[in-house]
């Protein structure tokens, strides 16, 4: 590729239509930004695709589009989120993630400095996780037709032979585990939205969970279900699993790990932490007798220090998720009707 004479102005420059036009400007953006930061052997071959051999086992593939406002929030940004989110989706099949692809939709006028910050953060996240971005794509849309940047990542991985983790395998008697505190990501993002105007020290829990999953699967190959409670929070995830497995669930409020600041923010906004998003959490449904062993193992992992057994699976034709409240009563934990909005009443 011929080098342009002037390099990208990463301090003052902005995305313009030419960066998606297939010409020299686009080549320059790819070379000086994406190649520079994501650098790896497969990417260096500069093909429109990446070709590689895979180990024996079941292939697992997942894709996730990332739109988040604001793009930068305490504990992460859209870049790290787009890496962690897809790694986690692959890992929830019990798989070892191998490679990622990344597609960027950029809005005309988006500052190149912000884009560089995002790409750096993505590259850092992918390197730390050991899952390289091996192919990608960039498009530019006119000003006003995007929110700065959208990132779609796709991941593939391999699951060991015999692993049969699936959302329809929860059985009465199973234990429900979580690897740590609920609601950090959602509260961190909300606290950085200017119009909500509240301040906390809470950071997003955005993290890649594949090493934790690998340790769990090795110790307990018979894990029935794994899922990351992202949008809709723990409540949505448990309802999905209960519905797909045609079982009921009972969780204990007293055992749910929730930070005081998250509880405080939820009081203030009229939200329920059970419905607030997480980006570094997993729910595991495992045979009851394996629960304590797995819990000890999770707590020994840096991403599972605050792990807890939070409930159990029961028989229930209605597939209801119920909660024993810390106060001593019982209530349902239903699906949300729609996105949770701050309430005044």
């Amino acid at each position: 590729m011929s080098r342009s004479t002037r390099s990208l102005d990463l301090r003052q420059g902005h995305v313009d239509m030419s960066h998606g036009g297939g010409g020299r400007a686009m080549a320059q953006l790819i070379e000086e930004l994406f190649m520079e930061h994501f650098d790896n052997e497969l990417l260096r071959q500069q093909n429109d695709q990446a070709a590689f051999n895979v180990a024996a086992g079941r292939m697992v593939m997942a894709t996730d589009s990332h739109v988040v406002f604001p793009l930068f929030f305490p504990g992460g940004d859209i870049g790290s989120l787009s890496v962690h989110g897809t790694i986690n989706d692959v890992a929830m099949a019990g798989a070892r993630p191998l490679y990622l692809s990344a597609a960027f939709i950029l809005e005309e006028g988006f500052p190149l400095a912000d884009l560089e910050r995002i790409v750096r953060s993505m590259a850092r996240a992918s390197r730390a996780a050991g899952v390289p971005v091996v192919t990608g794509d960039t498009k530019v849309v006119e000003r006003g037709k995007g929110d700065g940047v959208y990132i779609t990542t796709t991941g593939i991985g391999v699951a060991p032979e015999g692993a049969r983790i699936s959302a329809d395998r929860a059985q009465p008697g199973d234990a429900i585990l979580i690897n740590g505190a609920l609601g950090d990501h959602g509260v961190a993002v909300m606290s950085s939205r200017e119009n909500l105007s509240f301040a906390t020290n809470i950071e997003s829990d955005s993290a890649p969970l594949h090493t934790l999953v690998a340790a769990m699967v090795e110790a307990c190959p018979d894990i029935h279900c794994l899922r990351d409670p992202t949008r809709g929070g723990l409540a949505a995830t448990l309802n999905e699993l209960a519905g797909q497995s045609e079982v009921g669930m009972v969780i204990r409020e007293r055992d749910l790990p929730i930070r005081e600041e998250v509880a405080g923010a939820c009081e203030l906004l009229g939200l329920d932490p059970l419905y607030v998003a997480n980006e570094g959490k997993l729910v595991a449904i495992v045979p009851g007798e394996a629960a304590q062993r797995l819990l000890a193992l999770m707590r020994a992992h840096p991403l599972g220090r605050e792990a807890a057994v939070i409930g159990r699976v029961i028989e229930d034709d209605h597939c209801f998720v119920q909660m024993k409240t810390a106060f001593g009563g019982t209530r349902m934990v239903d699906w949300l009707a729609a996105e949770q909005l701050p309430r005044i009443c």
Partner: protein
């Protein structure tokens, strides 16, 4: 968190449940209405029905401003939002509530209307200052709690000489609505759990009529679960002793006379409407507020000619009987079938504080009880 955790103690809850069971006489049924939707929400969120004896029944009242707002007023708000010059500001609670054509402000926004979510009335003034070429309308809803902040915004707009700020006023009043319920034929309510935060504004004394004119005991309660159970216990005791008094369980927040600054401000800016429609209850005299003539310049109903008129509710809806204590949500034929929180047909399903929505969301696992 101080002033929160002390009132959510599970050990005390079990003791309180025993105390209530010891006090409730097996031979009679106690039908207690919590007027306030926040109480309804709390009762279900903490699973209180499961801690009460079978003969202590909670009847969920109309105290949710989102639920009781007639569909015609939502139609009017959507009509306002659809005017190209208007920025319509409101609390998030209102965004998803459907009007008569099954569209909501959220959907109007999706089609291009400029609808903004607010956390404080002062934000609406900021938007008005930043957009001098647009008309900023605050779609105001709520009881006596939310009204003083609206009054503050109107006064502040006047002080700043903001010509592009108006209020579409839907503020409603608690005591007249309670009267409205008590005056209905055949009500089956033995006593009231009185609202906590409304009472912080209007004061304990505002409820004397319930005890004096209708011989109903009323206990003002806080929103934490122990507060609620405590209030329930005090009501049972009054009923057992044949008393009908106003008691204040929430004295840490509620005084006898209320908040004088807030009351003066409300009185300065607003006056009573002769009558106002409550969804599920019909017309109730003197139950809502409008801006006084001195503040007519800030009244959206005067600035804009609104075409939307009243619309009747779905015929199958049993809200009127539910709110009188005669029926329970499960008695309604369309409960949890045609009528759900995603597609509410009646007032009681509109927000998570409505009687039907609270049952749907939190209580469907419980077996049905006879009213």
């Amino acid at each position: 968190m101080k002033h929160v955790d002390e009132y959510r103690n599970g050990r005390l809850a079990r003791a309180m449940a025993r105390a209530i069971a010891a006090e409730a006489r097996p031979g009679r049924v106690y039908r207690l209405m919590e007027f306030c939707g926040g109480h309804t929400h709390g009762i279900h969120r903490y699973g209180i029905p499961g801690l009460l004896p079978d003969n202590v029944r909670m009847i969920h009242g109309p105290g949710c401003p989102v639920c009781v707002l007639p569909m015609g007023r939502i139609d009017a708000a959507i009509e306002l939002a659809n005017r190209p010059e208007v920025i319509l500001c409101t609390y998030a609670d209102m965004l998803r509530v459907p009007g008569s054509r099954r569209t909501s402000l959220m959907q109007a926004r999706a089609l291009g209307a400029d609808v903004r979510m607010l956390y404080s009335t002062l934000d609406a003034l900021k938007i008005a200052r930043e957009n001098p070429g647009r008309e900023v309308v605050f779609f105001a809803i709520g009881f006596e709690t939310t009204t003083p902040p609206t009054a503050m915004a109107v006064k502040e707009a006047q002080r700043l000489g903001l010509g592009n700020f108006t209020v579409f006023c839907n503020h409603v009043l608690t005591p007249p609505a309670m009267r409205g319920i008590l005056a209905q034929p055949g009500v089956m309510i033995d006593g009231f759990v009185g609202p906590g935060h409304v009472s912080a504004v209007i004061g304990r004394d505002a409820y004397e009529f319930a005890a004096r004119e209708y011989a109903k005991p009323l206990v003002i309660s806080g929103f934490e679960p122990l507060d609620l159970m405590h209030a329930i216990r005090l009501l049972i005791r009054q009923l057992n002793e044949g008393r009908a008094e106003v008691e204040n369980e929430y004295a840490r927040v509620v005084s006898d006379r209320g908040n004088p600054i807030a009351l003066d401000l409300m009185d300065e800016v607003f006056e009573q409407r002769p009558s106002f429609e409550w969804r599920g209850l019909g017309m109730i005299p003197h139950s809502a507020l409008r801006l006084r003539d001195e503040f007519a310049a800030f009244d959206a109903e005067q600035r804009f000619a609104l075409a939307a008129g009243p619309v009747p509710d779905n015929k199958a809806c049993e809200c009127a009987d539910i709110l009188r204590g005669l029926k329970q949500p499960q008695d309604c034929k369309v409960f949890a079938t045609a009528c759900t929180p995603d597609n509410p047909l009646g007032a009681c399903m509109v927000s998570s504080e409505g009687a039907c929505a609270a049952w749907y969301t939190y209580g469907r696992h419980r077996k049905r009880r006879r009213a």
